[in-house]
């Protein structure tokens, strides 16, 4: 595939939904243009009803565009071919409750055309990779939210896609599961996968994304790299040991004499989620289901040989 082709290209996308029989329409996406390059982790942000999920559904060919063009690896998104290299984890995923985790991933692997000879190894690898090996033979109906997200990620990755679309992957998941999802996303990034992610947890987006776009009422409000958008290039922070008041005053005077200004003196704080994670025994909370989680292999302790998503399977 041509390397100059972006993973996702959206040009002038508008999506209207008819809301009454008289033809009154609701504009969910309004003249949106975006480009997601290969290998990026791209965050699509916005309040509820801003058009994020609609945009994702159009990218996946689940909805048609009213106006505009959406291409995935250069293929128009309404074509089945465009989904060949895409893995999708829907928001609050519901899967076939009557299947076991292993059966579910195997089913999607077969749908995606993973060759029979590689099927078993491939399914085992991704189930192991998301840390659900010990619960793989349980029915999905008994899984907690965190485990559903993990098995959802496994089905999204089983055919080794180049683009992974994650719609609110941490919705309803506790901070431990949420942090583990971030780790998995970063692992995908290290493997060169392109990830499109939506989330309301902005701190989480900040941790994993290279670029973000903010939508509101279907319109693109801002788009760029995190450094461009939230970095303060005209400011610097120095973190030092605690200083007595007299020394701070001396420092201020010294800076003033050189034409600089000491803008603020603050006590640095650890983030609350970091404190939470440091106090929680991770091994006992994976999947968020006590008694089960204790048997689950945490992603952080996945052996190095399987710490990267298997990529030996040929493309579907």
């Amino acid at each position: 595939m041509n390397t100059s082709i972006p993973a996702i290209s959206i040009k002038g996308l508008t999506k209207d939904f008819a809301v009454t029989l008289r033809g009154v329409k609701l504009r969910a996406v309004d003249d949106l243009s975006l480009q997601v390059e290969k290998g990026q982790v791209f965050g699509l942000l916005g309040p509820n009803g801003s058009g994020k999920s609609t945009t994702i559904k159009i990218i996946l060919g689940l909805l048609g565009a009213t106006v505009g063009e959406v291409k995935v690896f250069g293929v128009p998104s309404h074509q089945v071919e465009s989904r060949r290299n895409v893995g999708y984890l829907p928001e609050a995923p519901y899967f076939y409750r009557y299947l076991s985790g292993y059966e579910l991933v195997r089913f999607y692997a077969r749908v995606c055309g993973v060759p029979k000879a590689q099927l078993k190894a491939r399914v085992n690898d991704v189930v192991d990779w998301v840390g659900l090996s010990q619960a793989a033979n349980r029915r999905v109906g008994t899984y907690s939210k965190g485990m559903l997200q993990r098995i959802g990620l496994a089905q999204a990755l089983v055919h080794d896609p180049k683009l992974i679309v994650l719609d609110e992957p941490t919705a309803g998941v506790d901070p431990v599961g949420s942090a583990e999802m971030c780790e998995l996303i970063l692992k995908l990034k290290r493997q060169g996968k392109t990830v499109l992610i939506t989330s309301h947890l902005l701190a989480q987006i900040e941790d994993v994304c290279d670029r973000v776009a903010i939508l509101d009422h279907g319109k693109l409000m801002v788009e760029g790299s995190l450094l461009e958008l939230v970095g303060q290039r005209d400011r610097q922070a120095l973190i030092v040991d605690p200083l007595p008041a007299a020394e701070i005053e001396a420092l201020r005077e010294w800076l003033t004499s050189r034409g600089h200004v000491l803008n603020a003196i603050e006590q640095p704080r650890a983030r609350l989620d970091q404190l939470f994670l440091s106090k929680i025994s991770r091994t006992g909370h994976l999947g968020g289901n006590p008694g089960v989680g204790s048997n689950v292999v945490p992603s952080s302790s996945v052996p190095k040989s399987s710490a990267s998503a298997p990529s030996s399977a040929p493309k579907a």
């Binding site: 689940l62 076939y96 009557y98 999607y108 077969r110």
Partner: protein, 280 residues
């Protein structure tokens, strides 16, 4: 890059069908089938007290087909609607249709899954009915040997063929329900409309018979059109032919089977067309 670089796949279609069948089995629809079958066996105890002689066998066959048609129709409509809408309402369709599959594979996969479930129901019911008839016929032969001088009178092959034709009829009904589901927003609307369609298809022959008596050209044309749009389910009622005269005409059975397959293909195609642009 061509849109056809992901070709239509019968493997994926079979996967979706087998998953639909598995859903029916694991979500207790299959238990419902077994319960009906056991009920049919248990009800055979009542017939022993009647001892109508050879006409009793016809009665048992009619009773069995009555049960098959009644419960089979109800099962076909509810199972088709349920197994289709469970994908939409549980949002599993989102994940599945985001994979490189054609909507036609999804629709025909759902159809084949439901058709398999109904096939198991028909096989169980007809199998039990035939076993019951065989057993009772043996008892009657022992009690009245003179009435069975020429051997067994029930044509079990004909029973089997009529069972297969009923299965095909349920297939047509399932395709109709799937067509309704392809544009409907709710399970309830699909089930209710499906039952209306069932009644219309059973009474369709009345329209066919009456169009020649209608004076208005427009009305006559409408009635005639409707009589072709809706399949005539009365054509499948061949159980009266069993055990009479030369028995079931194989050519007639073949024509009815082709009639059913034709309607399944056309209505299934319409369902795919309707579902193709449905927004999930």
């Amino acid at each position: 890059m061509s849109a056809l670089s992901v070709p239509f796949s019968f493997n994926r279609l079979a996967l979706i069908a087998s998953n639909t069948f598995l859903e029916a089995v694991r979500q207790k629809l299959f238990n419902f089938l077994l319960l009906l079958a056991v009920g049919l066996v248990a009800s055979a105890q009542f017939f022993r007290d009647f001892n109508f002689g050879s006409s009793e066998l016809k009665f048992i066959a009619d009773f069995g087909f009555g049960a098959l048609i009644f419960f089979g129709s109800a099962l076909t409509i509810t199972a088709t609607a349920q197994l289709f809408f469970s994908e939409i309402e549980n949002r599993t369709a989102l994940t599945l249709l985001a994979k490189p599959i054609w909507r036609a594979e999804f629709v025909f996969g759902k159809f084949l899954g439901v058709f398999s479930v109904i096939g198991v129901f028909c096989a169980l019911t007809i199998g039990l009915m035939m076993a019951l008839l065989w057993h009772r016929e043996g008892q009657l032969m022992a009690a009245n040997p003179e009435a069975f001088e020429a051997g067994r009178i029930m044509r079990y092959g004909d029973l089997f063929i009529v069972g297969v034709l009923q299965w095909l009829k349920f297939g047509v009904l399932s395709a109709i329900v799937l067509l309704i589901a392809s544009f409907s927003n709710t399970n309830l609307y699909t089930v209710v409309t499906g039952f209306f369609a069932l009644v219309i298809c059973h009474l369709q022959y009345l329209a066919r018979d009456s169009w020649s008596n209608v004076d208005s050209l427009v009305l006559r044309s409408v009635v005639r059109l409707l009589s072709f749009v809706f399949p005539n389910f009365q054509l499948f009622n061949l159980s009266d032919e069993i055990g009479q005269g030369a028995g079931l005409d194989p050519m007639l059975a073949g024509r009815v089977a082709l009639y059913a397959l034709g309607y399944i293909t056309v209505i299934g195609g319409l369902a795919v067309y309707s579902f193709r642009n449905r927004e999930i």
